[in-house]
Every structure is written in structure tokens, then in C-alpha cells.
């Protein structure tokens, strides 16, 4: 185990991989208190930005700007994509391989255009 509980509501995780740039440094130590990152060791300024701000501005499920139940947002997404004649799926560069695989499967299913940041 690399995550060690130190005190109440505090964990320290070693060998953390930084999801900011493609250098993918994998030697960070992250201190978390009350589900907020309070200390980043070995990380550069960009890494600190990612982890220390990670608890801020979480997105919420919404349709047309109004907050909705999670399942409703997913259902609406499915309906919109099912009705599309020429959908675009874009992104993939800032998530993991499992999500990327699912994006491709979805694009295959609905005959979409699929692109990532390589083309930009």
C-alpha cells in the first residue's frame, strides 16, 4: 500500500503520477486532508496547480444549465447522440485508456467523427 493514513481525515500517498503534461512524472507524494490536497512533494508548479485545485469547481449534472439528476443527464446525452446525423466526439487526451476505449466504441456505434488533440 502506498496510501498511508496518518491522522484522522489525513492520508499521504506516494509514487503518485501527475496528470498534467506528457512527462507523466510518477514520484509525487500527495498529502490529503478532508479530501483536499494540502501538500504536493516532488511536483512542479503545474502539478501543484492540478492537485491543489482539484477539489474546486466540481461540475454538476445539468441539462440546459439546470441541475438535474445524474441519470437524467446521461439519458439526455444518449437521446441527443442517437438522434444525430453527424455527431462529433472530441477530446480523449486528458483521460485514461478505459474512457478512450469507450469513446471509440461509442463513435463506432453511432457513426461519429472522432478526434483528439493530436490534430489541433
Amino acid at each position: 500500500m502506498t496510501a498511508v493514513k496518518q491522522a484522522e481525515n489525513t492520508t499521504v500517498t506516494e509514487h503518485v503520477v501527475c496528470p498534467f503534461c506528457a512527462t507523466l512524472c510518477d514520484d509525487l507524494t500527495i498529502h490529503v486532508h478532508n479530501n483536499q490536497v494540502v501538500k504536493v512533494r516532488n511536483g512542479c508548479a503545474l502539478a501543484k496547480g492540478v492537485f491543489e485545485n482539484a477539489h474546486k469547481e466540481w461540475a454538476t449534472p445539468r441539462i440546459g444549465g439546470k441541475e438535474v439528476a445524474y441519470d437524467s443527464a446521461v439519458e439526455e446525452a444518449a437521446k441527443l447522440l442517437a438522434a444525430s446525423n453527424n455527431p462529433l466526439i472530441y477530446g480523449l487526451s486528458a483521460t485514461d485508456v478505459d474512457a478512450q476505449k469507450k469513446c471509440i466504441e461509442l463513435a463506432d456505434l453511432i457513426g461519429a467523427n472522432l478526434d483528439n488533440a493530436s490534430s489541433v
Binding site: 444525430s84 446525423n85 453527424n86 453511432i110 457513426g111 461519429a112
Partner: protein, 272 residues
Amino acid sequence: MISLTLMEKLSIPMEADLITPDNLHDKSNDEIKRQTVYWGNKKKTIGDFFEVEGEKSDQITMVGDCAKVKLIGHKMSFGAVHVQGDTGYNTGSYMTGGSITIEGNTADYLGAMMEGGFIHLKGDAGHFVGGAYKGETVGMTGGEIVVEGNAGHETGGFMRRGLIGVGGNAGDFTGLFMLAGTIVVLGRAGERAGANMMRGSIILMNQTRLLPSFFQNGVVSTPAVDMILNRLRTLGMNPPLAGRYVRHTGDANTIARGEILMRVGNRNHVEV
């Protein structure tokens, strides 16, 4: 003549590679209407989008703004396609014979991987005229393309045989990786013409900055150039005749048997 009239302007593009004389010449209008096209992610028919009129023929006329209709004349080997408007991507790609005339503009990859035949574009072309698809190392291997307007980047990239004439300006990298064949630009060519070219000729009517891997190699005035320009004249262009050209050979980073001929003075040149 077969007449296809686009009923409504499209915003979602359509792949219509079956619109060729090869495929339509022996079909009745009803059969033509049933031919498959791909519109966005849907499988549709020609009849869903076009009014089909006329009788069996190897001549096809397309009426309307076909800017979102891709692959017109794809792999065609005979007959004629006349488009009274714009066309979309990949027009005349892999074509081996016959002719395509486009009154308007077209998108990228006009005549890409073309093997033979003639394409006459009255308006502007996109990038990769007579070019190679990504990863391919041989592009156009025969035929003739005339672009009366401007052409984009990499015109005649990887070209191995044939003739491309551009009446207006051309973008950067004209004749990129050219293996042989001839490209003529009557307007101005962009930068880096002939990058990595091995053989072949690029004839430019106006001065442009060449790569340092091209070396000036005398002034020529050859019947061969006049023959090419005469040929363009018969294809409907208006090149200046009888001129002298500064000859540059390169690209020095390949076998360097290519030449870029730049016309001395620019009298008679077509200002675009």
C-alpha cells in the same frame, strides 16, 4: 445525358462515390435513384437528395451547390461528369479516365491518387491537388488537372506522372516529394516549392523564394516547356508563350534530379 439536381443545400456532408459514369451509365433513372450514398452516419440513396432526369448516358451533369458532396467521380474510368457548382472533398480521387468539369470551387484532394483522365476546375481548389493520402508515398500517377483559380498547399505532392496547371496562385510546398511529372503555376507559388522532390518539373511564372536546397543552374528556353504550355493552352488555360526560364535543380537532399523553372521577367503573366 444523366442530370442530377441537388434538391436542397446540405450542411452535413455526403459520400457519393457511386456518382460516376462507370456506375450510372447503364442504369435507368429509377435505378440511379436507388444507388447508395452515405450522408453523415446514415445510409441513403441518390434519390433522397437529387432529382434524376435524362436518359442512359456516360455523361453526367450535376446541378446545385455540391460543396458537401464528396468523392464525385471517384475511380471513374470513362465518360464525363459536369458539375455546375462546387464539389466537396476527394473529387476525382483514384480516377483512371474520362473527364470531370467543375464550374465552381472544390475542397481538398482534388484528383488525389489519380491515374488518368482530365479534371478541369474553373474555380479554386483546396489543398493536395493531385496529392497522396496520408501515409502514401506515391500520389498522382497520370492524367491532367487544370485549376483556373487558386490551389492550396502541397499541390502535386508525391506526383509520379501527369500534368497539373494552376492558373492562379498555389500554396506552400508545391511539388512536395515529387517523383516526376509536371506542375505549372501561372500565378504566384508559395514557399518551399519542390521540397524533397526527386525528379520532375515545376514551372513558375513568377519569382518566389526557393529552399536553400535548390541550386541555380543556367537559363533555359526549351521546346519542352513550350510543349507543356501549349498543352495547357489546349486544355483551356492561357499561359504566356516563348519565354526564358532560370533553372534550379534540387532538392539537394534527394537525388536532386528535379527542376524548378522560374520565368525571367514577368511580362504576360496572369495577375490574380
